[in-house]
Symmetry: C4
Subunit: 379 residues, 4 copies
């Protein structure tokens, strides 16, 4: 007897399972244009620092803006709970491994101060930077007006999974179309990993979508909840939604692949898979300027009842400028990310990010790649 199919299973792919195929034409890296646009704002590099407390503080945001990118400040993290966040950050970095989750649960149980929200935004704006801030959907109605009044430039509404429709007893679901109309600044929403959910979000009028559930280095969502889609497939599905939406509306809403990056190669793959920009966490946590002091942890980590994360020791490897632009003597791809992207675009003959979306990708699992004999034998 043949078994009827209970449900269909499609294969999803992650960074380590694909490779970019060189083009029939090549182009010099210095002739590539990698501009990234959100609404009316243009950035000279398509790289965003994540709204994580080990990555972005006000100083980091200013530096990132000067280098042509963007950093997002978490309005529900340490920066807005503590007048002196440095003390807390030092304490987290020094905590023994076994105690860090309890400590984070305690640290993040302190109340958020609206006055600190305004203060942090003003510090960033005062440094001459574009200021992006993030809130969770549940707190958007409370904090978004504060951010708006403090003249933030971009509002990011972010949770593990955010959809256009949410059912809740405790608060009236956030209506993104209303939010977009009430805010003068562009709204980016995430995270999201599939075509239909992404398309629904875009139709609310938002200006960008964050793509990725569960891939981050500091995130254990996939282990704890079983939920997640590997980044290449997630990016390709959301890129398809972007193109569908562009065809129906004429409005181009960029997608930003968020999480799971360790090296320049993955930035290149995300763009080849359709990303307009990438959001990096753990790579930037390795910067000298990062507030994490060589450590990194996820924003679901401090959850009081179901923590999903690990604090990982990423080390401090170089300056933010080196990580982005080199020069470097590091050969593992963790520095000169922008150089890597331009070089990959060069061998694919892509002069813009949109042309790079046309690059061919093959499925080629890293684990079976030839030539890595010596490296593998050391495992």
């Amino acid at each position: 007897m043949t078994s009827p199919q209970f449900k269909e299973l499609h294969r999803a792919y992650g960074f380590d399972e694909v490779a970019i195929v060189p083009g029939d034409l090549t182009i010099n890296p210095d002739q590539t244009n990698i501009d990234f646009k959100v609404d009316n704002l243009t950035f000279s590099i398509p790289v965003i620092a994540a709204a994580m407390d080990a990555v972005t503080d006000t100083g980091f945001a200013i530096k990132m803006s000067k280098l042509g990118g963007l950093a997002v400040l978490n309005l529900e993290g340490i920066q807005t709970r503590y007048d002196n966040p440095e003390e807390i950050l030092a304490e987290i970095a020094q905590a023994p491994g076994g105690e860090v989750t309890s400590l984070l649960q305690k640290v993040y149980s302190q109340p958020i101060k609206e006055s600190l929200i305004s203060q942090r935004i003003q510090e960033i704006k005062g440094g001459g930077a574009v200021c992006a801030v993030s809130v969770t959907p549940a707190n958007t109605k409370r904090f978004a007006p504060v951010a708006s009044e403090a003249q933030a430039d971009i509002l990011v509404v972010q949770s593990t999974v955010t959809t256009a429709r949410h059912i809740s007893k405790s608060y009236r679901g956030l209506i993104f179309s209303e939010l977009c109309q009430s805010m003068s600044m562009p709204v980016i929403v995430g995270n999201c990993v599939n075509y239909s959910a992404c398309l629904e979000l875009m139709r609310t009028g938002i200006c960008g979508v964050l793509v990725g559930v569960g891939p981050g280095a500091a995130c254990t969502t996939r282990e704890v909840l079983g939920v997640g889609v590997p980044q290449i497939t997630a990016t390709m599905d959301c890129a398809a939604a972007r193109d569908t939406y562009f065809n129906e509306s004429g409005r181009y809403v960029p997608i930003i692949t968020d999480g799971g990056f360790r090296r320049g190669g993955e930035v290149c793959k995300a763009v080849a898979a359709g990303a307009d920009a990438v959001m990096l966490g753990s790579i930037f946590a390795q910067a000298k300027e990062a507030p994490g002091r060589g450590y990194h942890w996820g924003m679901s980590h401090p959850h009081p009842a179901l923590p999903r994360g690990t604090r990982i020791e990423v080390g401090t490897t170089g300056s933010l400028e080196q990580i982005l632009f080199g020069p470097t003597s590091v050969t593992d791809g963790s520095q000169n990310l922008v150089g890597a992207l331009r070089t990959a675009m060069g061998v694919c003959g892509a002069s813009t990010i949109k042309e790079m979306h046309q690059a061919k990708i093959v499925i080629a699992p890293a684990i079976t790649t030839e030539g890595k004999f010596w490296q593998l034998s050391k495992l």
Copy 2:
């Protein structure tokens, strides 16, 4: 010359090879209903403790029932062979690794006492709990009436593989339709991994099917016999049988995925694959209340001629209540299983177990998942 095909091979998937895709709609976890029904009995959580001696004794069964779930007492294990099982359990926990299989073979060669069957059932019932007990098919005719008389609430007939038709010289095959008619309590049968065998079992009138051959942490059936089907595919095939049977009979027979669980993520995946409930062994062996004292072993392990199992040291990580409901500072997904299930249902927009059966699943091998750089590099 083209080779004619000797037999067709289909791909089967296990927990580590799939991930759940978030929905287009989300729902607050506290608005999910995760009730599980067997015949006329309703449990507030779809979680069952396995009929294994390292997991369920009378005290554990009472606690599990109070917390809303169910535990199954093995009527052919240590509890019914020894008046004082604590001594034996302590001996097993203290045995050196090299001697444990011989010890188990000896321990399980002691005769089962019918008086102890009655006594253990009465202890559980006396604690105010729903009492489920398990027997093997070969011993069902002998022990089921004893259990029935002692007023057990659920009878589980379980062996590595149980089918509706068994050929034997030594005993007349057990006829499940006769068994169901002769028993006043509901009968659950297992284990089973494929559509047609599951459908045949359901047609005998039983009230539940255990799904899974060979996946358990303490089981080496797959190495020894080469037999087994990974749990996602096994669950999907048996879920299809359940739906076929419901369509032909109007009777909904729940399927219970049994074995191979290590973390909340797998509980969520089993339910998304079609399970109505899950049966856990090694996770519960880690509870403070578990009789295994930090150890776990399989029920095929003591086989005198062909032992299939290993005693594994699982450790003791928390109370049963913490494992089920948290709160926890453990971030690997081994605690707050119910919270994990409700949260996963929330991001899939599923308000009931049956709605969660509709969640989309993708094939996404854990081993190639991005972002786990630091963890993998430690392997």
Copy 3:
């Protein structure tokens, strides 16, 4: 531009990538019949010891025959080059790892003595055993008549790859149809891994085919030559050839899967994939009776110019009888192989080897199988 396909690639599967699916019917293991026939000879177990010097000597062959199976003596190995093979075997077992290949190259450069061929055969026959002997194709014309005269019962003609057609300058290709007509004993030929080559071999009139190139534990053919087909696919393709040949000729020529076995589970899988019997090397090298003294090496290992093999330390784990029939306290599947096969046939409802050929197999990679958390984490 779409790339035209240079050649088509099909997927081949090995033991670790598949699992047997239980049947809709089960049967008691003691009611299974596992007879194996070669021409007019019947063996009560479908298990053959390989023609390797670490496995089969005269004593081992006699013991194996008494237990119902068959062992093949290598007529071009140590037993027929040395009057006192024990000395040489001890020397090999004691050689340091770095020197063993050179030693083997030297040991196997000694000439083969025809008188020893006769003597060894007579020793085996004198022990009341069925006597099977192996020669390479290049030496068949020289040694087969000697073996025939000494009244061997089965002739095995074996090299890494043997086909019905061989082109050579140095000797006129062996014509198997002529060989079969000139010999009174049945001829088994190998090795072979694909449908068309197997079918051609069967059409020459031989009585059995050995299946497997490159899978053995002591063999590095796949690394050195890049040649090999994993055993499940090789077995299925040759089983298809056997069935085609049976349909065209009415003659049933058994196929014997040779190499790559480590545990009972693989014996069960080979039979489910279509094997009529299995030939084991490294598992039997672990027997107390094995001449290898806890070591094992391949017969391509001593090649003077291109050695393909490794001497591996397999240890001595039990008696041949225990390995075949148990009882055992070993739970990894390396003992009681016959019990494992009968049990697997039982859960598949197969009462004969031919019925077991009908068992369903699924693709289920061991590396991703759930539940092996603790084991894997120890890697």
Copy 4:
């Protein structure tokens, strides 16, 4: 809602994922012909030493030519930057791991001397060898005439990815059709991994294509840029281009698989996948005659801003002659590469390289291959 497909993903395969299937006919290895032709030059073995500084210097090139193969001297490496390259090579071999990339960046920043180009070519020619030299596309116009005047026999134009069309501000793109017409010696171009790019290159009139991007042991292009195609698929695609081009032009342009080889098995697989010859780096860096002194590094490694490579310690394992022809006591396939190729051709019944292109290949991942139990368990 079904997601429209953003782009199609095809599976690509590497050496470790395939195996060669034996033929229906076998042939003695000594009856195989493995000649390789480039334009009017014929080599008796299809093996080329890479244009890498750890592999080819003038002495190595002379030896390689005497043995029937070809070695390519890098005209932009240490040999043409330093009068006394031995000193520099010793310094690299002695540098601590942490300092080697900086050292290489410094070493390769010294200017190339045209006089040394002429001198090295004359040294090779003076040794009676065929002289092949390599340049990058950017420097071809400058160095090719120098090489031509010094009477080099073959010009290799090589960069990570080379296409028939390159867009650059800093230099007018190299036009290969003009180059081929202006040079009296044959031109080989690389690297290339796909059908259409390879076909375009062949149409310019070149005499050979190097196949492979990112697979080499000393190369981290795939990690840094995300770019690369595994070698079996790359070879098959370029072989298809070669056949298309032959059909349209009547000119047979050989393809040379370059990079990722560790053992003879891979040489055999590359040829079975369609390669006319192979180019080896790290295997030859292990030769006693290799200038690398037991070390190997990639030619993208010294890049000043984005180094892509690692220096690996390959050790010194034997003479070049042993590596190519044996005899050997090494059983891992790293020696007697030519013997391995002839033996593999023998079991496939292929008497020429072109017949070996017809051999059947199956997908058979090494990691799941049976029989490697002991080896794997040592990982």
